[in-house]
């Protein structure tokens, strides 16, 4: 029986060629000759995955001497991860930046959009996505080559995501220590500030910096105190408030307006928050020398048999100058109202 491929004359009865292994009796055996076909709906999905793979993987090119030495150092997983604090730096050092250039570009775009929309849900989602892309860039090359077990890979991803989240949280605080931010809890029409806006705050250089009436300031919640075990202010969120009363001035509320030193203030510029409209401050008292009367939507609860009275309200709204962290200067979010605060 002659093999069709190599023309070797085999012993009769052989199923395969002794020399090349080709099937000899294929014609006699029922062989499926119709190939499997791709469902049409797979095509776009495969195109996307192929495009992603095509830009991630490239043939390893022999590296020049210096780059090879750097690559030997950076090929260690831990060192590679450390270098990837800046996305793509490890790849740049080892001359493989081309493999991740699209991911780095995507990371930059997502991060920029996240920063621009910071303070909104969209901003949080985008920054989370940027962290994910960063983790992928840091891990996918060396670490994933060494870690093949799925559970270990997931664990590695989670650890890196947590570390990067801490990094992303700490970086702006280290790089821009003079800035902070917070959401407003009430609207001030005269300043074009709406409830929920995210304001950027410049930190005060000195605690005793004099502040003017109407200034929007950031109050750190960890500086809030119980007052006489009667009124407790909410300590869960950062608060932006408006300075209404300066040291030594008396503040009260009449006809839903602030009256400071017996002079009524414009409610468009100095709106009375909702909670104070329910508990009007009828009797004013002088603001202590080292404090300000700051108006905002405090979340106040009364303990025990105590009643919400004027003294408790004054106590809740009086903030020491040392507890004021900064002065708001820019409406950051939403985008359409972005601008400096006059």
């Amino acid at each position: 029986m002659r093999c069709l491929r190599c023309q070797f004359e085999n012993i009769p009865g052989q199923a395969r060629c002794i020399r090349c292994g080709s099937v000899l009796e294929a014609a006699a055996v029922a062989v499926e000759v119709h190939p499997p076909r791709m469902p049409a709906w797979h095509r776009p999905w495969r195109g996307v995955t192929r495009w992603l793979r095509g830009h991630r993987v490239s043939i390893s090119v022999p590296l020049p001497g210096t780059v090879r030495r750097r690559a030997a150092i950076a090929s260690d997983s831990v060192l590679g991860l450390l270098l990837n604090v800046v996305p793509g730096l490890a790849h740049l050092v080892t001359g493989r930046f081309r493999q991740v250039r699209l991911y780095v570009a995507l990371w930059l775009v997502v991060l920029a959009l996240g920063v621009l929309s910071y303070g909104s849900t969209l901003g949080s989602v985008l920054i989370g996505l940027a962290i994910g892309i960063h983790a992928w860039i840091a891990l996918h090359d060396e670490a994933f080559r060494k870690i093949t077990d799925l559970a270990e890979r997931i664990g590695a991803v989670l650890i890196v995501v947590v570390l990067l989240t801490i990094l992303y949280w700490a970086t702006p605080r280290v790089v821009f220590p003079g800035f902070a931010g917070g959401h407003t809890t009430f609207a001030i029409p005269a300043m074009n500030v709406h409830r929920g806006d995210y304001l950027l705050v410049r930190r005060l250089e000195q605690a005793d910096t004099p502040l003017t009436r109407g200034t929007l300031v950031l109050i750190r919640p960890d500086t809030f105190r119980d007052t006489r075990r009667v009124v407790v202010r909410d300590q869960r969120s950062f608060v932006i408030g408006q300075i209404v009363g300066l040291p030594g001035e008396t503040v009260r509320i009449a006809n839903r307006r602030y009256v400071v030193a017996e002079q009524p203030l414009d409610p468009g510029q100095f709106p009375v928050p909702q909670w104070l409209q329910d508990y009007p401050l009828t009797q004013g008292g002088p603001v202590p020398a080292d404090s300000y009367f700051i108006s905002t939507e405090y979340t106040v609860s009364v303990h025990g048999r105590a009643m919400m009275n004027d003294a408790a309200i004054r106590e809740a709204c009086t903030i020491r100058a040392s507890d004021i962290r900064g002065r708001a200067f820019l409406r950051w979010w939403p985008w359409e109202r972005r601008g400096f605060i006059e």
Partner: protein, 253 residues
């Protein structure tokens, strides 16, 4: 006479015994030739069907197995092509051309590491076919240096009577490498031997259009004339006809 004898079943209407002399015998070779004809007309679906028919007649026909894998690759069904190449490899173990086709499927599917491995494996075997070198040229087309050109030269050297097809494939590989000048050289030689193949004219037209050569219109029209139902030459002709904003601004063409 049985009751179904007068029913018409297209090609099968004429009984084998009464086949006229002018009509060719529909055996595996016939379907193989038909498949190549459809492939050169860029009708990969029909080519694949004809390769399957050839295998129905003769399941040991290696060219038909390889042709099926190649058509699946041409149709963009790379995982299926790999599966089918594996199946063919069961009948033709370690065949360099099947390994090369598997490498091609991997390369087109952007799995370059696997593509290089399969191509290395294929090149290490004996009795290399031109396809092995053509695939290697495609796998290594992004590398610096004339590696792809060297592989193409080797493919041409061992092409034999397959030279026109090898020239066509070489032109296509070089076009993917964006070496349009050399691609046009190969495709022009292929066109001389395969003047009735729309695929060759189309590839030639595309390369000429990339270089902005006016001959592109003729090549694409020729392709369209040979196979009017094919959309790609028509689309390309429309693209060539357009000037574009920047070309218009600069007064080019």
């Amino acid at each position: 006479m049985d009751r179904f004898s007068r029913l018409e079943f297209g090609d099968e209407a004429t009984p084998p015994g009464k086949r006229s002399r002018s009509e060719p015998r529909r055996d595996a070779d016939y379907y193989h030739k038909e498949a190549i004809k459809y492939w050169l007309a860029a009708d990969y679906e029909l080519a694949l069907r004809n390769y399957s028919r050839a295998l129905e007649q003769n399941s040991t026909m290696f060219e038909a197995w390889a042709g099926q894998v190649l058509m699946l690759i041409e149709l963009g069904e790379y995982p299926e092509a790999r599966v089918w190449a594996d199946k063919a490899l069961r009948s033709f173990p370690e065949h360099p051309e099947l390994l090369a086709l598997k490498a091609l499927a991997c390369a087109r599917d952007a799995k370059m590491d696997q593509a290089v491995a399969y191509s290395d494996n294929a090149v290490g075997k004996d009795h290399l076919t031109p396809r092995v070198w053509l695939v290697r040229a495609e796998v290594f087309r992004d590398r610096k240096g004339p590696i792809a050109e060297g592989c193409i030269n080797k493919a041409i050297a061992c092409a034999g009577k397959l030279l026109p097809v090898v020239k066509l494939e070489a032109g296509r590989v070089l076009a993917r490498k964006r070496n349009y000048v050399l691609a046009i050289q190969h495709l022009k030689e292929a066109v001389q031997d395969l003047p009735q193949a729309p695929l060759v004219w189309y590839e030639l037209g595309c390369c000429q259009a990339r270089l902005g050569l006016p001959e592109a219109v003729h090549s694409l029209e020729q392709s369209h004339h040979l196979r009017p139902d094919w959309d790609l030459p028509k689309q390309m002709l429309r693209k060539v006809g357009k000037r574009g904003f920047f070309r218009g601004l600069l007064g080019l063409q």
